[in-house]
Symmetry: C2
């Protein structure tokens, strides 16, 4: 049993306030060797250490020095929010320092925190774009300016830095900026000069966390004010900016996906801290609307390249799926807050699906190349101009929001896996390691997601009985739990298998999740995948890649759903993956005339030669040569 203790800081991105109405409290997990341990090692040893050099090359750090007056030159970068790349990297580095002391990294963090502090203006304002490019003009273009959005990421970085290092240095900068914002923004009649909101929600959830960290209620009130001012036309009434309808009245997620999700994270934070039942109800309603009609199989969100927007219900394209990596991260952040608030398992079901698929595909296996958008299909002969919205991995982006966002989530991942309450411990995600809440410690050993056996050992326990709650994943059709002499099988009522008893140290529980590969279909209203199936195994969505199917492309392939799926572990492939092997064939298409449409009773013959299909986990796609890829496979 690995002895990986939880990190130095057992407080992650979400800490509940003393008056919180949450059903569950975040618990700490020390992640030992296994799937996520490996991804986090790459994050720690490749992605995060490269950050400062990339931020230097892109000009972000240069801008801070310019703003501080310690360098000469012109602003670099195309967007008013480039400072957030620095803040998100600082947040990632702070969570990483909380895992393991690292003098080099601590030195880099200290150096960059000092750059940020130096760039701040005496009254607390901080945004290099407006300080350098816009002649210090402030808050005049709230729709596009991103000043409060930048403040939000600064605050989150500062809270992480404070929690990880106990240093006040960055927290002081953030508080000073938050105080400045609080002195400027307020409702009519408040005496504050501006009644306004930012075109990109983000500061709201950050302000709630700053309240939690400092105990200062002003920040909570400011967050509540901002959240409730969306939807009243202050930004022109556009859905893109979340300004078409107030959160409390909304019936569907809409507009820019990341904007919507950060706003809903904040609404959930407020419901958690204040008990606001209307906000909670809105968040539950909108989460349901999102998952039932606007979520890709991978957990990816956002149907439109244009405006990075949610589309219509059931509009879930494959090759033009946007599924921004940041939207996957925002979805995980929001769902975790919902899981804590409600105690319901489905929120962690979506987190699991998103983590293993839509989120993880955003970073290459070597941690050095990124996807901003995460399509579910790349056609044979796909032409790709590259750039941020490319289906090809890129070293860094012009709008580099995603890479440091991935870094901060991976570096804080142990805070999204488990919770505790007065009744015991809840395990939301299964990793080898130690789960700890209050007086309870449970060890876990597993090769999940490759293997469905999860072996748990009670390591520390109080004398009184308590409940060990295990989330049975929504995808799982068969499971068995052995606990002492008892055996439990599914289904559960609500996704939680609750083991209530008096525990002794050394007690063992073994959960077996059946990991048979399966074929999945969609609601018939999802037009984009009509007549198709997807291959899944456990929490993993699989896909075909052109590189595994030589002698032709993917677009003439049909899967044979009558033949069994086979599982093949391939330690050599893509860092070691379990593939699913399916039977298929290549369509014979008659020589095309000039018009690709024909009478329905004259459809071309479609028999073809058999072909073995190798489906790799979606998260690992685009790590070999550029080529085609498909998640959804035609059945005829």
């Amino acid at each position: 049993m690995p002895r990986t203790r939880p990190a130095l800081s057992s407080t992650g991105p979400v800490r509940l306030g003393p008056d919180s109405r949450a059903a569950l409290r975040p618990a700490a997990v020390g992640i030992g060797p296994g799937f996520w341990h490996a991804r986090r090692a790459t994050n720690a040893h490749a992605s995060i250490p490269q950050g400062p050099a990339l931020l230097e090359t892109a000009g972000n750090l240069h801008n801070l020095r310019l703003a501080a007056g310690t360098a000469a030159g012109v602003f670099q970068g195309a967007y008013p929010f480039v400072d957030t790349d620095v803040y998100k990297w600082l947040e990632a580095a702070a969570w990483q320092l909380a895992q393991a002391p690292d003098d080099d990294l601590a030195g880099e963090v200290g150096r960059i925190v000092a750059l940020v502090a130096d760039a701040q203006q005496p009254d607390g304002y901080l945004n290099t774009w407006f300080q350098l490019v816009k002649g210090g003009e402030r808050y005049q273009d709230l729709r596009w300016g991103h000043e409060l959005y930048c403040a939000g990421h600064l605050i989150q970085a500062a809270v992480a830095h404070h929690r990880a290092t106990a240093s006040d240095e960055l927290l002081d900068v953030a508080r000073k900026f938050a105080d400045h914002i609080d002195s400027v923004f307020g409702p009519p009649g408040s005496g504050k000069p501006i009644d306004g909101i930012d075109g990109h929600p983000e500061v709201e959830t950050a302000l709630v966390e700053l309240h939690r960290e400092t105990g200062e209620r002003r920040y909570l009130h400011l967050a509540a004010y901002f959240v409730d001012r969306y939807g009243h036309g202050l930004l022109g009434g556009e859905a893109y900016c979340q300004d078409r309808v107030p959160v409390r009245e909304a019936t569907d997620v809409e507009g820019h996906a990341v904007r919507q999700l950060y706003l809903l994270a904040a609404a959930t934070d407020l419901a958690t801290e204040t008990g606001d039942a209307e906000l909670r109800s809105a968040a539950e309603r909108l989460w349901h609307a999102m998952t039932t009609t606007k979520t890709h199989l991978t957990g990816g969100l956002g149907a439109h390249h244009d405006e990075e927007d949610f589309g219509d219900p059931y509009e879930l394209p494959n090759e033009r799926a946007y599924c921004e990596t940041c939207a996957a991260i925002a979805s995980i952040q929001w769902s975790w807050r919902m899981a804590l608030l409600t105690g319901e398992a489905r929120y962690s079901d979506l987190i699991e699906r998103t983590l293993y698929n839509g989120f993880l595909a955003g970073v290459s296996l070597d941690g050095e190349r990124w996807l901003y958008v995460n399509p579910l299909q790349v056609r044979d002969g796909h032409t790709d101009p590259g750039g941020d919205q490319s289906a090809r991995r890129t070293r860094w982006f012009r709008c580099a929001c995603c890479p440091p966002n991935v870094m901060r989530l991976l570096a804080s991942l142990e805070h999204y896996l488990a919770s505790g309450d007065d009744n015991g411990l809840q395990i939301h995600q299964y990793v080898t390691g130690l789960y700890t809440s209050d007086q309870v410690t449970v060890g876990c050993e597993t090769d999940y997601p490759w293997n469905g056996t999860i072996a748990l050992t009670v390591e520390e326990t109080p004398a009184d009985p308590w409940t060990l709650s295990l989330r049975i994943p929504q995808w799982c059709r068969e499971f068995r739990v052995r606990c002492g002499e008892k055996t439990y099988e599914g289904p559960t009522d609500d996704g939680w298998l609750r083991l209530h008893r008096t525990w002794a140290s050394g007690d063992k529980v073994v959960l077996e999740l059946a990991l048979e590969p399966r074929l999945t279909t969609a609601d018939p209203r999802v037009d984009a995948v009509r007549g198709c199936v997807a291959i899944e195994r456990g929490p993993l969505v699989h896909c075909l890649e052109g590189v595994d199917h030589s002698g032709g492309g993917l677009d003439d392939i049909v899967v044979d759903t009558t033949r069994p799926l086979a599982v093949k572990h391939r330690p050599d492939l893509l860092g070691g993956v379990t593939t699913v092997v399916a039977a298929g064939r290549r369509r014979h298409l008659p020589e095309a005339g000039w018009w690709p449409y024909s009478a329905a009773d004259e459809s071309p013959q479609q028999d073809g030669e058999p072909v073995e299909l190798t489906a790799v986990p979606y998260y690992a796609w685009a790590n070999r040569e550029d080529g085609s890829m498909r998640v959804w496979l035609p059945t005829s």
Copy 2:
């Protein structure tokens, strides 16, 4: 037999030069009462007359007065190409004046031509954006500046004005600008100051036509220079601007659809005038690539909202089809040049399909509201922010390229319907009216596309035998031609039914095209319509509209392909249309959980109650209340 003679000007947008290698010569048609006569009457009496007021309100005419120094104020409009809205309206009005004298319209044209002439700078340069906003800076931003694009539309308007009215006033303005461009642009070593091309091809096809109108070969050479400079990185090498690969080497249509199509129209013009076999071969290759893999059923072109771009082969989405109205027009313009160059019927097959569907949907039945994009699906519950890319008709656009483009095509439509050669007359499109070429005149009476009977009468004929060629549409599975005592039935080898004989005045030919409604499927690589059929009848693509299917939306409807289709003429509906009635049912969907994907062997029950489906012609959609629409219908 209606006695509608061809228009005052029998020369339309394309006049072949004396050295032309075209197989066919454009012929003139006088369009009598019927389908297109009605659309053209609306164009003449509603759309075109409203133009000047709309151009005044939008500021286009104001900009011309500002540039002339006859008014004060600031430039209005968001784009450097707003002058083209004026030019395209002038071209439309000129073709309209060629149809019928109209003092009011002639007065408006004269007034606006004078505004244009006054705005021109002494050396011939003319672009109000650069004159007013950019301080007269010229040709410094060819990628986005649209200066030559604007010149192209000015030239086309001037050629139309000259052909329609014989006035030199606008032609002189255009020649002066063309001469200026010719003095500035040329290849390295030519002594011209700029080796460059415009980010939006358009001037090239206009310059060929200016050469045809004036006999001046410099314009032809300038066009050839421009066409061949695309694809060499002068614009940064982007596919969007047609600068990734030279036309001669291209193997697929790509980038911005309208840019690609205007460029290919010019390449075809050049092949026609110079006999350049390589350009002709490229044009044929690219037309084939476009129609086989990148054309929607409606003839619509352009798969991406983002960059108004062609997508990958077989990437033909429904709700996110872009299918810009201008792209449909450009496709017709290019295909007509291909039809004349090659004599092949398939080009007019695509013209017919585009005219009746993807093009005509761009304007409302009342001629007063427009679609910029022409999707093939609008979902139940579609949210639409309005604006240029809206699926809802709009009075005018911020980028108002499409409305006057529709006006100019409708006003010159009689020039796209027929041709002549030394062997006789070719009828490409069937309308009631008189077809005239050289010494041949053929009258036609038909209620096409509602009825498949086309009654032709030879009205004037030379004594020698000649060939009457009738295009048998690609969609037509059965036809019969009675000519005297002979009867001909299909199929034809190449889409042309050729009747060669000695004709006498009064000879009658009756063509019967079977108009049974039909179900159509797509090549299986068109993922977006897998498991669906479309309903077509004759050249018309049909669609369902939500407004005809009360008691539910369209997204739960399934069509029953085993039941016969019925035809119902509805004189009351949408200005009088023939509808197709199909049997369908509404799926019963089980109450949704939170996740819309499920195991393939647990698919939800799909029986449902029968529903009668009413399919209206696609061109007439969105003329009643806002709602849902579908062209492609699921079969199960």
